[in-house]
């Protein structure tokens, strides 16, 4: 059982652990800026100290030796004996940690159905936003969180095959480009000061709200499926779609759908069997948030 909502719990000199809901993480690092960013982002999550099962004991450290260490220092993500990701610039350690944990979840956690989706909820009623990258799901999820929804996930919807419920996998929300100043404005003090310049543009990290972290051990059932599609200047359009159509979207966005074979079909179908399903096209965040609120109010 994880501890108080006190943030990453120090286990020994260089290791600290915390819960993200469905999983416990323990990080070993020499990098003070990584410790600080983790303390900021996960400061309200339950800690996971000694005597707690850790799903992903990982290490993020500098691995260069010699002159390289000084000029363009890099850090590596390591889990056990493996280094599955390319090294990243030292400054990007917090991003690398997020990516590394995502990798570890996706590689192994086939005891759950894993969807590429954001998940928000009112109480125990969840809205799943399945979508590939670039659809604006992270921005929409962040906006909904800012307007009172609790966040369960930005990246992975984690569904328990036995119950069909979604379990929080509560990590940093990844904001891109214009969403960064937008969220700084709406949620002052909640966005990590650093902005990371990557090959995919600028990325910022938003921490989950206190309310989201408090409910980290509360699963939710899927009440709505809303596929977001963002395009600049697009008019708001909310379409109620047949559940079987939404099922296809959900299944296409399920990383390990085929691994669960026939069972995957039944689990997903049962999990969303009572859900109202929509496609939401928008060009304006506030209009989209209002639309989701209306969907929730109608239900």
């Amino acid at each position: 059982m994880t501890g108080e909502a006190s943030g990453p719990q120090r286990v020994n000199g260089r290791e600290f652990g915390w819960s993200i809901g469905a999983f416990n993480v323990r990080v070993r690092t020499n990098l003070s800026h990584l410790r600080e960013s983790a303390a900021f982002i996960y400061g309200r999550h339950p800690g996971a100290g000694a005597g707690t099962f850790i799903d992903f004991p990982v290490r993020v450290d500098s691995t260069d030796i010699g002159p390289r260490r000084i000029f363009r220092p890099r850090v590596t993500f390591q889990i056990g004996e493996r280094r599955p990701l390319y090294p990243a610039p030292r400054r990007h350690a917090p991003l690398l940690l997020e990516s590394g944990i995502n990798w570890a979840i996706g590689m192994e956690m086939h005891g759950y159905l894993l969807l590429h989706a954001a998940v928000v909820a009112r109480g125990d009623q969840a809205a799943v936003l399945p979508a590939p990258s670039g659809s604006g799901k992270s921005t929409l999820a962040a906006g909904l969180m800012a307007s009172g929804w609790r966040l369960l996930a930005d990246e992975f919807a984690v569904i328990d095959p036995a119950t069909g419920r979604v379990h929080p996998c509560l990590k940093a929300v990844s904001l891109k480009e214009a969403a960064i100043p937008l969220m700084r404005d709406r949620l002052p003090g909640e966005v990590l000061p650093e902005v990371y310049h990557t090959v995919r543009g600028r990325i910022g990290l938003l921490r989950p709200s206190a309310a989201s972290a408090q409910a980290i051990h509360s699963p939710a059932r899927i009440r709505w499926v809303i596929s977001p599609q963002f395009a600049h200047g697009q008019a708001l359009d909310v379409q109620r779609v047949p559940r079987c159509e939404a099922f296809i979207t959900m299944a296409s966005n399920t990383f390990n759908y085929t691994i669960l074979e026939r069972r995957g079909f039944h689990v997903l179908a049962d999990a969303m069997g009572q859900a109202d399903t929509y496609v939401l096209s928008h060009g304006d965040l506030d209009a989209a948030i209002a639309a989701v609120d209306r969907i929730a109010a109608d239900g």
Partner: protein, 353 residues
């Protein structure tokens, strides 16, 4: 002290007595060893998967499911490979992971692997490659050195990847490199190939599968999957050991192929780690190796299969390095090895991003 993974494989009920920190260690170890799926399947077989804590169970159950799906896909894929080779009149003889699955070997239990390994008579290698390319597998882009490495020095053409399905096929004409000593007569392996329940799909014989696993581990020097390989051998030897003539069958075949040393090493290590029930200790196997060399080597083997992350000290690393060097020396005589290693060092220095 045996790794926790080994303890639980030997005595699955041990899983019921593990605390949270033990589970963290076990999942971490087993993940690195490539044995997470096998653990999951083993506990499931003993009806224990539902008795362990929820959080670690997700890992074991998840990987057991992954392995099951992998095996389903492999069986389909192997059918395509057979059809491709049949177009040139070449029989499909599988080895390693794909063979375990096709033959329903005990070593298929939770076995995870990437490639489909097959054995083809040396004169038919080019035809096999052509047949596979025609059926959609592609050759990787290699530079001249790598091309020579594969075609002239080692015992395989480079792995081929299917351009649509992504499956990987490794075509071998022997189980040891052309440059290695001792030489093995691949024809002997092919003539003993056994049929499976699928028409046109053969594997190395059960005895040869063990010997291949043994020579691959002990002579090749790559101990990254050492614990997994020994677990495979434990499962296969246990099955072979049921026969009352097991010792003669294994010993005879090992002698015939010139593989008595790897066979001896396999039995000794499996006995040490898993208490594998095989009718003889392997002492009767002619090993032609001094007692001290033998002791040194076996100590190295035992250290090399220890998990790196949960063991104290640097013995596992040192042991793996020593065996890696030994493997290279056994694989390639020095007049090939030194230019090869020099070239690899030069190339990786160039490639630093």
């Amino acid at each position: 002290m045996l790794p926790l993974t080994v303890q639980v494989l030997r005595d699955p009920a041990r899983a019921l007595r593990l605390g949270p920190d033990d589970w963290t260690t076990l999942v971490l170890e087993a993940r690195d060893a490539g044995l997470l799926a096998r653990l999951g399947v083993r506990l499931e077989k003993h009806g224990l998967l539902t008795e362990i804590p929820d959080a670690p169970r997700r890992h074991l159950e998840g990987m057991a499911r992954y392995a099951a799906k992998l095996h389903t896909d492999i069986r389909t894929e192997v059918g395509f490979v057979r059809d491709a080779l049949a177009s040139r009149g070449i029989d499909l003889v599988l080895m390693k992971g794909a063979a375990y699955v096709a033959a329903d070997s005990p070593a298929a239990e939770g076995r995870i692997f990437e490639d489909i390994d097959l054995l083809v008579p040396e004169p038919q290698i080019a035809a096999a490659e052509d047949a596979l390319v025609e059926a959609g597998w592609t050759r990787p882009a290699l530079d001249d050195h790598d091309t020579r490495y594969y075609y002239e020095w080692m015992h395989q053409i480079p792995p081929l990847m299917h351009r649509e399905r992504g499956s990987l096929v490794d075509v071998h004409h022997n189980i040891v490199p052309r440059t290695a000593k001792p030489r093995i007569d691949a024809d002997k392996l092919l003539t003993q190939a056994t049929p499976t329940s699928e028409p046109g799909i053969y594997t190395l014989s059960p005895t040869d599968r063990v010997l291949h696993s043994a020579v691959h581990l002990f002579n090749d020097g790559d101990f990254t999957s050492g614990l997994r390989d020994l677990s495979d051998m434990d499962l296969m030897l246990t099955a072979l050991g049921a026969d009352e003539n097991a010792a003669e069958l294994l010993g005879g075949r090992a002698g015939d192929l010139g593989l008595t040393r790897p066979a001896y090493d396999a039995l000794a290590l499996c006995r040490h780690l898993f208490e594998t029930p095989f009718p003889c200790a392997g002492d009767g196997f002619e090993r032609r190796r001094g007692r001290i060399t033998n002791w040194l080597l076996h100590t190295c083997f035992v250290h090399a299969v220890q998990p790196l992350t949960t063991s104290k000290g640097s013995w596992p690393n040192s042991a793996r390095l020593a065996l890696y060097i030994r493997g290279h020396v056994l694989k390639m005589p020095l007049h090939f090895l030194i230019p090869h290693l020099a070239y690899k060092t030069y190339r990786s220095a160039l490639m630093k991003p």
